[in-house]
């Protein structure tokens, strides 16, 4: 087997193919070296910091399009290909990979998006790479190359290892290649905008979803418990979009939402991206996942905590999904205290809290990067899987501590 070249830039190893990545991984195993795998590096702090890895493997040169089959609506890419490079190629055939993550502009790679679970507002309709990745090639900690899934959208042969990678943040294996399911690019879009408080936004979201027109995204942004902006994005064809808009507007009026703005064209309701970019460095970004109808409760809790710790909180919420990105700014000690209290409150709701971007000082003050007081209920099983994939715990040590 020929092994492709490995370039070394900024102390990072950059393999150009899966075999080269496997050779690196075998070497690291022989030396018992700890390994940090990264793509664009847009989410290095997620799931805990990896401290001083012996080896850094960057997937930046694993950026080839391997096999695009427009007729089957599937594409295979090397995992280091960035979404921003892939989308225009697909657009030439009237297709897209139906995710719109805020980190797209930061060069987010397909592999990184799979292992981080990062998506965007259109997740409401299209899901994440958990739903859209149908196969992958992995390099395990010992250098084993394994393939799972394939090019067909319907496939139940063997275990779905692609899904196992979802959320794993480089702790189980290096993702070398990914096969993706594509969608037709919508021909027309409308965004309906209205000013609402969280309670009204929750009711409006339910009305939109219940209307029978499938919205692509429903996003709210603002400060907790105050009037913010609710954006509803509809996608369709030139002929159907007006009718869809009228239908949703009627559904919104029925629940008392009158002050509506309809924006033609397709402005992305993705305030998340802009806000995250504005937020760096200094403030912390916290991600909350709860039931959709718990939005008013979450915003109320946040308002109380922010006032008590003299912080400002800004919220970007996917109200149809119950996912909330919170940007906190103010004294670090206050942020640390708020995160601890929020973790306890959300865990009581069977929800999740994760820390995303933040100042290194915050983790030092808290003494941990785990935002929830208790490990997830699945911690023992997660650790058992980790033990089998990476017995020496060399991959991304520090992530998912204390239970990994």
């Amino acid at each position: 087997m020929t092994v492709g070249p490995v370039a070394v830039i900024d102390d990072q190893q950059r393999p150009a193919d899966v075999e080269a990545a496997a050779a690196l991984m075998r070497d690291s195993a022989a030396e018992r070296a700890s390994v940090l795998i990264s793509g664009a590096g847009s989410k290095l702090g997620w799931g805990g910091r990896v401290v001083a890895p012996d080896l850094k493997i960057n997937t930046g040169r694993l950026d080839r399009l391997i096999d695009y089959r427009p007729g089957d609506m599937t594409v295979a890419v090397q995992a280091g290909m960035s979404l921003a490079v892939l989308q225009p190629i697909l657009a030439e055939h009237g297709q897209w990979l139906a995710i719109d993550p805020p980190t797209e502009t930061a060069g987010a790679t397909i592999g990184g998006l799979l292992v981080s679970g990062d998506a965007g507002p259109c997740r409401l309709r299209h899901g994440t790479l958990r739903d859209l990745a149908i196969g992958c090639t992995l390099v395990l900690a010992d250098g084993t190359i394994a393939r799972a899934g394939g090019h067909v959208i319907k496939n139940v042969a063997g275990y779905d290892l692609t899904k196992l990678m979802y959320g794993s943040l480089g702790t189980l294996a290096l993702v070398g290649e990914v096969v993706l399911r594509l969608s037709p690019l919508p021909a027309a879009s409308r965004t309906i905008s209205c000013a609402l408080r969280p309670t009204g936004a929750t009711r409006a979201t339910a009305a939109v979803i219940g209307s029978g027109v499938e919205p692509s995204a429903v996003e709210w942004h603002g400060t907790p418990s105050h009037a913010g902006t609710l954006l509803v994005r509809l996608d369709g064809t030139g002929r159907t979009i007006e009718s869809a808009t009228a239908h949703v507007v009627a559904a919104l009026r029925e629940v008392g939402v009158d002050d509506l703005d309809i924006v033609s064209g397709s402005p992305s309701p993705d305030r998340g991206g802009a806000v995250l970019a504005e937020g760096r460095p200094g403030p912390s970004t916290v991600r909350i996942g709860v039931l959709p109808d718990q939005f008013p409760l979450i915003s109320q809790t946040l308002e109380g905590l922010a006032a008590r710790h003299e912080l400002t909180a800004f919220l970007i919420s996917s109200t149809g999904l119950g996912l909330h990105t919170v940007r906190l700014s103010g004294p670090i000690a206050g942020q640390a205290a708020l995160i601890d209290e929020l973790g306890t409150a959300v865990q009581r709701l069977d929800g999740t809290v994760a820390l995303r971007d933040r100042d290194a000082e915050l983790d030092r003050v808290r003494g941990t990067s785990a935002p929830m007081p208790q490990p997830p209920q699945t911690a023992a099983l997660q650790r058992a899987v980790k033990d089998r994939f990476d017995p020496d715990h060399r991959l991304a040590p520090g992530r998912f501590t204390p239970w990994f």
């Binding site: 196992l164 009718s243 099983l381």
Partner: protein, 465 residues
């Protein structure tokens, strides 16, 4: 349950060619019952086989010689309905169609719809990640489950997934769904419910050849239309369906496509127009549009009972479940035809054309041992043909005991070993549903028995695709 007569009912699932009398059957009524049974099995090193309604078609619930069957068929309750968040918590023994029935008063439904949905259980759907006609647009069981409560092979009760759409850590729920009972037994399921579409329109288009019908499907997809369902029946299948159900399919057509579009009125109107035009452009000889919901139900009745109807034209048949890239459809159908001719057997095709999930039915006479052997060989050849065309050994029925020996045609030893790492993490002693999915000497060294239709199949209650 230990009596010989009772145990006989648990010798096999819908794949009746493989049979083995279990040592004991546990009829669980709660998560606690399952956990107790699993712990006792663990203490004595006895293997166990989770079982739902027993409608599986790949021998996934086939007992081992000394194993205990843990049936969740009695666990059929709705535990909670949360209409505001569009989700319902059910026990695994609940029939698939009963979930949608319970959601109906709220204007909601459960999208996965295997052909056997009136009897197959939600727990079985989770174990097999089964699909159905409507998963082209709406996705598979894995896209419709928020959380499951599982008894792990070591007897722990664990919840995978939860209220949050953002899990913390690797997606264990995703790897559990479709693991065919080898990673544990599911005892509670939180399913995702969808809002019922406002408008639904269905048509049946007739074509002279299956290739023309396949081209119409490719045309649809390349026009960016994702219908709710696109099903195909070939001439042999049409003839069996008409004889059995009088659903109104044209007997003189070489192939028929059932296309269903749903959504809100304007979008449905536009997509339906495109579908109709593409069928005509690809030389459809006739198009029948369902005018009432009764007519639509009849079309689906015909499609969903197609497998059971096969009994009218053949003493026995083997059903295969392979997947191919949609664009290779016409080519693969021709190859299947050639394989059938050289084996001197007939193959009927009824399948989910939109996602390339084929269900070739190999017709044969089970009283003729030589012909039976030829039929089994042809069925395996067809499955492996799908792999050769870049597809999969299974789209919805699972690998089970039936196709474990074909797994090396699709996966390398390293691929399978990597999957086994997951298996060992969940089940260090290999007690949960052994000899399934992965090739083992016991399974691949033995010959299967003769095909016998499942009683529910004979009665026309369930189909096979």
């Amino acid at each position: 349950m230990t009596d010989a007569v009772g145990l006989k009912a648990y010798e096999c699932d819908g794949l009746t060619a493989f049979r083995m009398r279990p040592a004991l059957v546990v009829l669980a009524e709660s998560t606690q019952d399952v956990a107790t049974a699993v712990r006792i099995c663990g203490r004595y090193g006895v293997s166990f086989v989770p079982r739902g309604a027993g409608t599986g078609l790949s021998g996934g619930a086939l007992p081992g010689p000394d194993s205990v069957v843990i049936s969740t068929a009695r666990m059929r309750k709705v535990l909670a309905i949360d209409a505001d968040n569009r989700r319902m918590t059910v026990q695994p023994g609940m029939a698939n169609i009963a979930v949608s029935a319970a959601a109906e008063p709220y204007g909601l439904y459960f999208a996965p719809d295997p052909s056997s949905q009136i009897v197959c259980s939600v727990g079985g759907n989770v174990a097999e990640n089964s699909g159905g006609a409507h998963c082209l647009k709406y996705g598979f069981t894995t896209n419709h489950v928020y959380a499951v409560t599982v008894v792990t092979p070591s007897g722990e009760v664990v919840r995978l997934g939860g209220n949050s759409a953002d899990p913390i850590g690797p997606d264990l729920l995703g790897v559990f769904i479709g693991s065919e009972g080898t990673l544990g037994t599911v005892t509670e399921i939180v399913v995702r419910l969808l809002v019922r579409p406002i408008a639904v329109r269905t048509l049946v288009a007739d074509f002279a050849t299956a290739e023309q019908a396949a081209d119409a499907v490719s045309g649809l997809v390349s026009h960016g239309v994702i219908p709710a369902a696109v099903e195909m029946l070939d001439q042999l299948a049409i003839s069996a369906v008409e004889t059995a159900t009088h659903a109104g399919y044209s007997r003189d057509a070489g192939a028929a496509l059932v296309i269903e579009v749903d959504g809100f009125a304007a979008a449905v109107g536009e997509e339906f127009e495109i579908a109709e035009r593409l069928c005509r452009d690809n030389h459809a000889t006739g198009i029948r549009i369902a005018q009432t919901s009764r007519e639509r139900d009849l079309i689906w009745k015909g499609r969903k009972s197609a497998f059971a109807a096969m009994g009218r034209i053949s003493p026995a048949y083997l059903v295969q479940d392979g997947v191919i890239p949609r664009t290779r459809l016409a080519e693969v159908l021709t190859r299947i035809d050639e394989l059938a001719s050289s084996a001197a057997l007939r193959v009927a095709n009824v399948f989910h054309a939109g996602d390339g999930n084929l269900h070739p039915l190999v017709l044969f006479d089970s009283d003729d041992p030589e012909e039976t052997e030829r039929a089994e060989g042809l069925s395996t050849d067809i499955a492996e043909l799908c792999v050769a065309f870049g597809g999969s050994l299974s789209g919805e029925h699972g690998i089970g005991a039936d196709k474990a020996c074909s797994m090396p045609t699709m996966f390398s030893a390293d691929d399978l070993d990597t999957m086994k790492r997951v298996r060992v993490a969940f089940d260090p002693y290999g007690l949960a549903n052994p000899d399934k999915i992965f090739p083992t000497p016991r399974l691949c060294g033995e010959k299967s028995g003769k095909y016998r239709p499942h009683p529910l199949e004979t009665s026309g209650l369930i189909g096979r695709g």
